[in-house]
């Protein structure tokens, strides 16, 4: 997945096996420390690994916030898997973490990504655009958008 140029178009250069292993190590460390992470997504029908989706504690500009993210194999696109996985991840977050809100980031050109953020009920925080420090100056992938969703309020019915 990580070396598919289509999948990586809005992320950065296609990754090497070594980079993928390093990323896996980071995810494992997040899981060990926090009990959740960007999980592996398996398709139940055949047990195939089709990508990742989940929550992680934000770092850098997202310090103190909880981030939702996803990435799917090219052949798993267009079938609603990302939405299904992301919806479940949001629900898991509200049920299991004492967090008020969840944040997502993407680049302006990645319309599929922020399109899903909107379909998940997330709202763009138009004043929270930022330049991603890990992306080189001048790259079209440097500017990032921020989307947010707040924990749904459960309010007793008014008498």
């Amino acid at each position: 997945m990580g070396n598919d140029p289509d999948v990586m178009r809005f992320i950065g250069p296609p990754s090497t096996m070594a980079a993928a292993e390093a990323a896996r190590g980071r995810v494992d460390a997040v899981l060990a420390e926090h009990g959740y992470c960007f999980w592996a997504v398996e398709r139940k029908s055949d047990g195939a690994f089709i990508g990742f989706c989940g929550l992680q504690p934000g770092y850098g500009v997202l310090e103190g916030q909880t981030e939702i993210g996803w990435r799917l194999r090219r052949d798993a696109w267009g079938q609603g898997f990302a939405r299904e996985a992301a919806q479940a991840s949001l629900g898991w977050g509200w049920a299991n973490l004492a967090i008020p809100a969840i944040t997502a980031i993407t680049v302006p050109a990645n319309t599929r990504s922020w399109g899903l953020m909107e379909r998940l009920g997330m709202t763009r925080d138009h004043d929270a655009d930022f330049d991603h420090p890990a992306v080189p100056d001048g790259s079209p992938l440097r500017r990032h958008l921020t989307y947010r969703i707040a924990r749904p309020i459960s309010r007793p019915a008014t008498p």
């Binding site: 103190g64 809100a101 709202t123 925080d125 138009h126 004043d127 707040a150 309020i153 309010r155």
Partner: protein, 179 residues
């Protein structure tokens, strides 16, 4: 008066009312405030700020852009909160910035200056802010101002007591005075 890199925050003048109404009373600006209102309602909002300025020495001030001296919105500290709610008597940080300035960090610049003015010039031990759950740019800025979610202070806005419009459910964020 507060001066920041791009902005001036100052008390209101009677002749600000038409300009304020022009930038504030639009469908996009009023989405989370009950929609476009009669002009008199918007003017009354300025009257209330002038009263707070006279009584407390501060209010949610007029925000001007230094480059052109034009009114850009409202931002500042209002003392009082809402009676019969968990935010009764608190220092409230609030802002509304004209659509043409969205995405430029103007609200953040004005809000940070207002917050810091509060620490320097009032006895506030904490400063709170609130908005509806649907207004993510607003509570997003609360997060970026260093505020923490305070679900224990959530309240139903007094203007929405007679209905169950979700816009009336206020979620509260607050920050304690730095030690």
């Amino acid at each position: 008066m507060i001066e920041t890199e791009r902005l001036i925050l100052r008390p209101w003048r009677e002749d600000d009312k038409p300009a304020f109404e022009a930038i504030i009373n639009t469908p996009a600006m009023m989405t989370h405030f009950g929609g476009v209102r009669p002009a008199a309602d918007i003017h009354a909002l300025i009257d209330r700020q002038m009263e707070k300025q006279a009584a407390d020495g501060h209010c949610m001030w007029a925000v001007e852009t230094k480059a052109d001296g034009a009114l850009a919105g409202i931002c500042g500290l209002r003392l009082g909160g809402h009676p019969d709610t968990p935010v009764d008597g608190v220092y409230e940080l609030g802002w509304r910035i004209a659509e043409r300035h969205w995405g430029q960090g103007i609200a953040r610049e004005a809000a940070e200056a207002s917050r810091d003015w509060g620490w320097a010039n009032t006895p506030a031990t904490s400063i709170a802010a609130w908005t509806s759950i649907a207004n993510a740019p607003s509570w997003g800025l609360m997060i970026r101002l260093g505020m923490q979610r305070r679900a224990d202070l959530d309240f139903r806005h007094p203007l929405y007591l007679g209905n169950d419009d979700p816009e009336g459910d206020m979620i509260v964020y607050a920050i304690d005075r730095p030690r």
